[in-house]
């Protein structure tokens, strides 16, 4: 069976959902349900993680979905580590999506600080899912220190530009010993399908669903695309040919040898 396993936990769905930018918590909850996801990520800046009556947290059914806190907004390793520790102390959740995003404009991750933070958090017993630029060397270094996944961006958060970093992600996938989750910039279900066809283990989508006219329908569309892309990957793509096969092949003379 083709199940995704991250840190020993099995996932049926290879689509993870972000919870920002929705027009309401009710719409967010419906979209999450429509996506079939089993893991949703929540920015610690947006919630009171220690308050079970927090509006946003209360809209996420924790019996159905693994809650993955993230450190988005952290400028450096120290902030991200502090946030993660406080969140774990308050909630008991050991999973952390590590986002060190000092630049509030493109929200690109700082690789140096991410590596530093990951090292400390892994030593501290966290299950670390680091958000990174599509940097194959950084991806290997993070895997070496024991992160549970690597999460390279397809294009900047919220840009909906799709797989701008395709070539680098291909390398990351080829070299990976942990699941690769393509995160950020997937603007259409076809982008998500493309990522899965390339061999990504999962994708994470937020803006494209949250800001769609019909987030619930879009969530369903992404779910189908992720399944379709994964099946296509498993079915084995025959490969594109630039030219037609020659009717008189060059090695035909060997046939009767």
């Amino acid at each position: 069976m083709d199940k995704l396993v991250i840190a020993g936990r099995r996932f049926e769905s290879r689509l993870f959902i972000g919870t920002g930018k929705y027009s309401s918590n009710a719409v967010m909850a419906e979209a999450i349900a429509a996506s079939g996801t089993e893991m949703v990520t929540v920015a610690l800046r947006r919630v009171d993680i220690d308050n079970e009556n927090d509006d946003l947290l209360a809209a996420i059914d924790r019996r159905k979905y693994l809650l993955l806190p993230n450190t988005s907004g952290a400028r450096d390793a120290a902030e991200a580590v502090r946030l993660a520790r406080l969140a774990r102390a308050a909630s008991g959740i050991e999973w952390i999506k590590l986002e060190v995003t000092p630049d509030p404009y493109y929200l690109l991750p700082d690789g140096t600080e991410t590596l530093k933070a990951a090292e400390e958090l892994v030593k501290d017993g966290f299950i670390v899912l680091p958000y990174i630029n599509a940097d194959p060397i950084l991806a290997k270094r993070l895997q070496d220190i024991g992160t549970a996944t690597v999460m390279p961006l397809a294009s900047p958060i919220g840009s909906n530009q799709g797989l701008k970093t395709r070539a680098a992600i291909e390398i990351i996938i080829a070299q990976a010993t942990v699941p690769v989750v393509v995160d950020a910039g997937l603007g259409l279900p076809s982008h998500a399908a493309e990522a899965m066809e390339m061999g990504a283990d999962a994708v994470l989508v937020n803006t494209a669903i949250a800001t769609a006219k019909d987030p619930v329908m879009m969530a369903g569309a992404f779910a189908k695309a992720v399944e379709g892309g994964r099946e296509a990957f498993r079915a084995g793509f025959a490969g594109q040919k630039a030219q037609a096969s020659a009717s008189s092949p060059l090695t035909g003379f060997l046939r009767n040898d």
């Binding site: 920002g20 930018k21 929705y22 027009s23 309401s24 918590n25 610690l44 800046r45 947006r46 919630v47 009171d48 907004g73 952290a74 400028r75 902030e79 502090r82 946030l83 406080l86 000092p102 630049d103 509030p104 404009y105 493109y106 919220g158 840009s159 909906n160 803006t207 949250a210 800001t211």
Partner: protein
């Protein structure tokens, strides 16, 4: 290649944006409809001054609806279907300046009040009860009372209830901003009021605020001290709004590149009635031009915050949150002690949107957006 400019003063001077330049006005007037269309269709959210000139031009009046559509899409993609709420806490309306347009002017003869820490925290409790988590401490230029120690002590109390604390006070130096940052304050709002030096001199005849350059360098000091949020703006009505927008954009571009870890937001304070206004102002800005300015800036700066206060009417605010606004205040009181209602004191300006926070939140919800009360956490910074 143009030499890198390291100083905003030099940038404005070199580009003649600190003066009323007929060259820029001619450039704005000379824009064609084709120019405007090209800039609306160009890669969104990229700034260069020619783009802004086109979007501010008279020709752009024919395309305001298109600008609005693009502006809305950009804002939703970048910020989501959300509007962040904040609230001002006025702690002192004593002021040693004599700005000609302000109700706090030292020559205006109003009722002045200074809140003790306890009184300020009592006001804050009322505000927190409304649901706010982002607070802006505001005061006149009152360095004798609103000291760094006062602000640090106030911030320590506010951190218990609020996730994010900013200040809109008189300019400080880098070391003072650093102390505020370490006390849990991580945003600075300060408007240049006008980038035109001669208008500035006329409007700020005395007091520390009469120093144009000192005011202009403030965000550099705040940014280098680590402040995460920078609110900039001009007081619409003092100088020609189109020239002011060009200068404001150059300032924003400079700050965004130099202090790339800090978020710049634009505010749009407009001259409104205030006690003791001493002079007439010949550049008052109507709704249409203000909206054009906001959209032009949004199309050039996709990632900048756009802030709207309760100076503006309810109906204008209701419409603008559908366009490009990302943060608004609600239920604001602009006099110290105004939330408790026991202290009668001079207001800085008249409020036009008198709705409560709950009413504004309901309006946001009805418009298809989520009112966001909390979008930061005190855990990001460490108090000693």
């Amino acid at each position: 290649m143009e030499q890198a400019m390291s100083d905003i003063r030099i940038i404005l001077e070199t580009k003649q944006l600190d003066t009323c330049s007929s060259g820029w006005l001619e450039a704005i007037e000379g824009v064609s409809r084709a120019d405007v269309l090209r800039e609306i269709d160009a890669v969104p959210g990229k700034y260069h001054i020619e783009r802004l000139i086109a979007l501010l031009s008279p020709a752009a009046d024919h395309f305001l609806e298109q600008m609005a559509q693009v502006g809305r899409q950009l804002t939703i993609r970048r910020f989501g279907r959300t509007i962040q709420l904040y609230v001002p806490l006025y702690v002192s309306n004593y002021c040693i300046n004599s700005c000609r347009y302000c109700g706090y002017s030292s020559s205006a003869g109003g009722d002045c009040t200074r809140l003790t820490i306890e009184e300020a925290l009592a006001e804050a409790d009322i505000i927190a009860g409304e649901g706010f988590r982002h607070i802006l401490i505001v005061s006149g230029e009152d360095p004798g009372f609103v000291t760094v120690d006062y602000l640090a002590e106030l911030a320590a109390g506010l951190r218990k209830r609020f996730s994010s604390i900013s200040v809109e006070i008189y300019p400080l130096d880098r070391e003072q901003y650093r102390r505020l940052f370490e006390a849990g304050i991580d945003g600075v709002t300060l408007y240049q009021e006008t980038y035109d030096r001669s208008v500035y001199a006329r409007c700020h005849p005395s007091g520390p605020k009469s120093d144009y350059d000192r005011r202009l360098e403030t965000h550099d000091l705040a940014g280098s001290a680590g402040m995460r949020r920078m609110g900039i703006g001009v007081l619409l009505g003092l100088g020609d709004w189109r020239l002011e927008t060009l200068a404001l954009a150059e300032h924003a571009d400079y700050l965004m590149k130099k202090y790339w870890r800090s978020q710049v937001s634009f505010s749009f304070p407009r001259l409104r009635p205030a006690r003791g206004m001493q002079a007439e102002f010949g550049h008052l800005v109507g709704d249409r031009d203000m909206v054009k300015m906001m959209l032009a800036l949004r199309l050039c700066f996709a990632d900048a915050g756009i802030v709207l206060s309760t100076r503006e009417s309810a109906s204008l605010r209701d419409n603008l949150i559908r366009l490009c606004v990302t943060q608004i205040s609600a239920g604001s009181k602009t006099s110290p002690g105004g939330y408790g209602g026991h202290i009668q004191s001079t207001r800085q300006f008249e409020i036009d949107d008198e709705r409560t926070a709950a009413e504004v939140a309901a309006m946001i919800d009805a418009a298809g957006f989520q009112p966001v009360w909390k979008d930061w956490d005190k855990a990001f910074s460490v108090l000693p």
